[in-house]
Symmetry: C2
Subunit: 253 residues, 2 copies
């Protein structure tokens, strides 16, 4: 709260950031009201709001209407994507999906799953990875994974419709190991490629994941291939950055 000299919103943000990083403002603590800060820094409330917006976009602060602004608390879940750590890969599904639920239960929290199945023209990036042409369609299995009722992860799996026509994968039931089902159909996945990028969420994702503004998401796209390098499956996951760490364990050989 060192006022005195005239400060722009950037200086106010710097001052508050310093207090957060030094611990003067502890995680979870409530910040002074905007009107209070405006008085203390001797600026208009609009200027204070610009500073707070900056801190929000850095993920340091969250604001709640009618309640106040708070120093954000971090406790992201660690989540292994390499699958190499698993002692029992086949029981858990080749994509390690169920390991997510297991790790959630390990922390005494309740995982939930909402699953819908659609037949769709896949989005262009997915279509190109599955090698689907203009008119070809795919089966989309869309999952929203929740913890204690809060959406944590969007996960859409696409498979060529010709591959899974008439199988259990067309039904909106949980299939613990989609790889297993594909295996039993004679489609054995031997290799996969993961692509990861990060970006700001779209409007739809903000709503579906109930994201506070300023939260970045990682987009994880996994494409699975059989021994002939024919693509079998493309899984697109959207993970809020503040809730997830992706872990890969690899041999250096």
């Amino acid at each position: 709260m060192s006022a005195v000299t005239a400060m722009g919103w950037a200086n106010i943000a710097d001052d508050l950031r310093r207090q957060i990083e030094s611990g003067d403002l502890a995680a979870g603590e409530k910040l002074p009201a905007e009107t209070t800060l405006a008085r203390e820094y001797d600026v208009n409330r609009t200027t204070v709001r610009s500073a707070l917006r900056r801190l929000t976009s850095e993920g340091l602060v969250v604001s709640q209407k009618g309640r106040g602004s708070f120093v954000r608390q971090y406790a992201p879940l660690r989540w292994s994507w390499s699958g190499f750590e698993s002692q029992d890969k086949h029981a858990r599904g080749y994509d390690g999906v169920d390991a997510w639920e297991a790790s959630v239960r390990d922390q005494d929290r309740t995982p939930e799953l909402a699953l819908t199945v659609e037949i769709v023209r896949p989005p262009a990036p997915v279509a190109s990875r599955l090698g689907l042409g203009e008119g070809e369609i795919a089966v989309a299995r869309r999952r929203v994974r929740l913890i204690d009722g809060v959406p944590f992860l969007l996960q859409d799996s696409y498979m060529p419709e010709s591959l899974v026509r008439g199988t259990d994968l067309m039904l909106p039931h949980d299939v613990s190991a989609p790889g297993g089902v594909l295996n039993s159909l004679g489609h054995v996945q031997t290799r996969y490629v993961d692509e990861i990028t990060c970006r700001m969420p779209t409007k739809v994702e903000t709503e579906r994941l109930q994201l506070p503004s300023g939260t970045a998401v990682a987009e994880h796209m996994r494409t699975g291939y059989d021994a002939d390098d024919c693509p079998l499956r493309c899984m697109v996951s959207v993970l809020p950055g503040d809730r997830h760490v992706m872990v890969y364990e690899l041999d250096a050989s």
Copy 2:
């Protein structure tokens, strides 16, 4: 530009977003001036600015002082982190770092490297991964990797000072294969763990990477271990989300 009814900033953002996604506003195109939009939507300029801020935070728009606001263009680099694709891993360094330069040259662009070396108390997450106690120090080799003069990647490698004391790794010269140097010192890395998360950049990162606001970054942390599971090296990379895709190729076996 469907005005008529009273619109809040969210509706204006929706309208502009629709125009961008439909291509009515093409990539790179200049948006109408804020005052123009305010007149067209029949709102105050402040309201227009709120809408534009939203689109900026979604990465759809960039604004430049005195010039205007523009629809953003995307063209992220693909960058393999798994190292499994490389035919000549040892020549290129076990962490695949030089493959980055190679991939840049493949696209007829010019990679540059700025390297500094410091002896530091490592940040807490790094210290814990290297197994360093309170007073122990590390050698930090800090790289800024540029393409055509534009900073593309921050990459800081930390090694326990006791491991590399008096070696070439203490000198601010490019060492093409740090793993090779460590190898020759008797420290052979056999395994590494990658951790990836995404977040908004800190103020310092925004400046060092010259990021437009609203760009998320991926933080990639790679910890290398020897055969005794003793940590040798921790490399922290910060990648602007709009410029990078991380790729892992993995066996499903």
